[in-house]
């Protein structure tokens, strides 16, 4: 079976420094994969290469069998590769309903319409309502984002991604910045993601990673050093070296 997202030997160097070094991985429908790694491992660069914000020096990115290595970021979104942001990037003066409407309109190819209002488009609003309900945001649908709680903003971030009906979802630290007591909200939402969606979560909150992921990939110094089950990762010597090595040598 063709993987939904297939990455082969991806490479990127910045001025001689190899930031992404021959990284390969593939995601299939229903996969729940976590990408972890110590600071400076090259996680952000990797995300930017996959979404197309950066051009790789070598390697291949395929979406559902189609080579998108040279495609623009917007093109990849249309093909079903959607990302969320670690730092919330929302429109402060717009409402959750408007955010999700933007995403739904774009997916339906109606974003360029200059006539009519989204509020009167039944198909758009039905879907917007469904997504708001799904993430329990209906109560604040018409409140400006600058006035809603941070946890809800994170949920909205997820809602926007889902409204684009992704096939592959890159979640960049979905629970970042939320007080620990409230991460449950996000976790619950993550558990109910569509079953056939492939999810790659980038995070270093190990609790969340272990509960969510069926598979863990460890990135260190730009290379994949581990790809296996969450149970095996803690036992792996190279992973321990990557995370703890600097402390061990310091002694």
């Amino acid at each position: 079976m063709t993987p939904l997202l297939d990455i082969r030997s991806l490479r990127k160097t910045f001025g001689g420094l190899s930031v992404t070094n021959d990284v390969s991985l593939s995601l299939h429908p229903g996969d729940r994969v976590a990408l972890i790694g110590p600071n400076g491992a090259g996680k952000t660069t990797f995300v930017n290469l996959v979404t197309g914000a950066l051009k790789p020096d070598g390697g291949r990115v395929s979406l559902n069998g189609m080579d998108v290595t040279r495609s623009r970021p917007t093109e990849r979104v249309k093909r079903g590769l959607v990302r969320s942001f670690q730092v919330t990037r929302l429109f402060k003066d717009m409402t959750p309903e408007e955010h999700i409407a933007c995403a739904v309109l774009q997916r339906m190819g109606k974003a360029g319409r200059m006539l009519g209002r989204h509020g009167r488009m039944t198909d758009v609003m039905t879907e917007v309502g469904d997504i708001l309900d799904f993430l329990q945001l209906s109560g604040i649908a018409n409140v400006r984002v600058r006035e809603i709680a941070y946890g809800q903003q994170r949920l909205l971030e997820l809602a926007i991604a889902l409204a684009l009906r992704p096939r592959v979802l890159l979640l960049d630290e979905p629970a970042a910045g939320i007080p620990h007591a409230q991460t449950g909200l996000i976790e619950k939402a993550l558990e109910r993601l569509p079953a056939d969606l492939a999810v790659l979560m980038i995070d270093h909150d190990m609790d969340l990673v272990f509960r969510f992921a069926k598979r863990v990939i460890v990135l260190a110094a730009g290379s994949v050093i581990f790809d296996g089950s969450p149970q095996a990762v803690a036992q792996d010597a190279r992973v321990r070296e990557a995370y703890l090595g600097s402390y061990a040598h310091a002694r």
Binding site: T51, P73, T74, E75, V77, K78, V82, R83, F85, R89, L90, F91, K92, D93, M94, E98, A101, C102, A103, L105, Q106, R107, K110, A111, G112, R113, M114, L115, G116, R117, H118, G119, R120, T122, M125, T126, G129, S138, A141, N142, I160, L164
Partner: protein, 334 residues
Amino acid sequence: MTDVLGRDRPADFWSRLKESSLPGALAIFVVGIAGFFLLPDNLALLTRIIAIAFLVLSLDLVTGYCGVATLGHAALFGAGAYGAGIAAVHFGVTDPIAMTIVGGVSGAIAGLVCGSVILRAHGLPQLVLSIAVIHLFHEAANKASSWTGGSDGLSGIMPDPLLGLFEFDLWGKTAYLYGIGLLLVVFVFLRMIVHSPFGLMARGVREDHVRVAAMGVSVHSVLLRMYVLSGMVAGIGGALSAVATQVVGLDSLSFTLSAQALVMLVVGGTGSLYGALIGTVLFLFFEDVVSAANPFHWLAIVGALLIAVVLFAPRGLYGTAISIIRERRKKSAA
């Protein structure tokens, strides 16, 4: 009031009124007619205000709604004015409505050209491009004097009677009423645009273009389309100015006019059509009173006004008024 999903929405009268363009159109109509009867000797000034209002509305589309800072927007206005003027003088297109259409099309083309250039950069380089573009247009119009009349201006524009019925009279009555009519049409059209899905995307671009791009929207294409629309609106204003004054001067393609349009927009309030209109009316009225005395004093006053707006009313007069009203209502609701 419920939306299509049957979920409750704020049902008060105000929110329904806010969605409709009726009150705005009515206000323009009433103020317009009042101006006609109250200031019959100043119709030339009032018509100029309407023409510049098109420029400021047009600037609001790219600066207020999309967040692009430009100091060269008069290029689109001047393109419309010269387009209509040249069509009349050199090609015999003297029907006022046809001239207006030519102006709108010329403005849209200028918008496409300016947009393609200005949107290539961000930040300071973008600003520099916008200033360079308006100077380039100005120099080009100055040089092509066989078409544009150069620094003497393009004169000899003789529009036919409007609809074959109404002569453009010496007092500017026809021109003024034609301007009010055009403004009403364009205002309703712009209300539709800014509330459409496209307008929603544009607001998204202003707030965070990275977020919009991550939704799969091409930010550049949204901005460029807005520039073309903006050019059309400014071009109609330019054409109105050509029809009403029957000359087109190089000042319609000047940096000063571009900067003044930005001042009018900011004084009124960016990101709102009402703000753009209010800013234009106030600015041009005061200019008429003060600059008659001394143009340099006027410049110093404009400067002081700008500094004051930045420091004390960054949302402009209309924006500040709205947020005060909103705060009041929130307090009284609580």
